[in-house]
């Protein structure tokens, strides 16, 4: 359950606020443990913006690292829980890409998020057609599951 909550939180935040582009800013007070852990893990990171996801008590950092835009999530003890970033469709591991195209062949792929925890790397893939929008969670071995499904209002179409 905790893993699912974290994935939902990360997914929501990645599709939410934009990254700061004018240097480091703090929109929340970051405790020293979290900041120290961040600096150790991501030495050289730039344009760091912090937020506290209050309900889950998770600190979110949005930043540039090695020219990549990343989000990182820490608990209040400074433990890195996960990182997330938007990636191109071409980044999908080949078996996962093949399976998504086959299993969801009547959908168009819109966005892909690479989600990394201490245990695994997975991908959240947003696909859409005229009837529904799905978020698929996929793994490097090609396995997929539907993480979120949103039906579209067919009455709105003429």
């Amino acid at each position: 359950m905790k893993k699912l909550v974290l994935t939902l939180v990360m997914f929501a935040s990645l599709f939410g606020a934009a990254i700061a582009s004018d240097g480091s800013t703090k929109s929340t007070n970051v405790n020293y443990r979290v900041e120290a852990a961040f600096k150790k893990e991501f030495a050289g990171a730039k344009s760091v913006k912090w937020d506290l996801l209050r309900k889950e008590n998770i600190y979110q950092a949005q930043f540039l690292y090695n020219n990549e835009r990343l989000n990182a999530y820490f608990d209040s003890e400074g433990n890195l829980i996960a990182t997330g970033r938007f990636v191109a469709i071409a980044n999908l591991p080949l078996m996962l890409r093949k399976n998504i195209y086959e299993r969801f062949n009547d959908y168009t792929i819109h966005e892909v998020v690479e989600y990394t925890t201490s245990n695994e790397t997975s991908y959240l893939v947003v696909v859409e057609n005229e009837k529904a929008k799905l978020v698929i969670q996929g793994y490097i071995n090609g396995a997929t599951s539907i993480f979120k499904k949103e039906k579209k209002n067919s009455a709105a179409k003429l």
Partner: protein, 150 residues
Amino acid sequence: MKKSILTWALILMVGVSTSFAHGIEGVSEKIMNSFKKEFADAKDVQWESTKDFAKATFSLHGQVMFAYYNGEGGLLAITRNIVASQLPINLLSEVKKNYSEYWISDLFEMSSNNETDYYITLENGDQKIVLKSSDSRNWDVYRKEKKVVS
């Protein structure tokens, strides 16, 4: 058995191509059927084969891929060449951090038996290193060789 299969796939990839026959003639019906079943949407398929193995080069959903088969039609491995930015973030970060003075001369992803591995060849003036990742998080040294200076 698994290790030897993967080793064969790698040998095939790194260039036994001079001993391959080109074209569909040497490819058995078992292999063709297995390929068509697995890759129904494949386009621009080209075949190379030896007595015991066959390699298909094809495009699938806009991506060039390679599939290797044994004589029984068993799929040994699927591979594709990638660029560094297509690596999972942990692998990319480790290369940038620990091998910043090397250039990348080869990088590919290989899928076999439900596992995906990444192989990267890094070179500098003195040596050539091949790293392998089986967990998409950490690299291990697969092979290291010093360059011969003439």
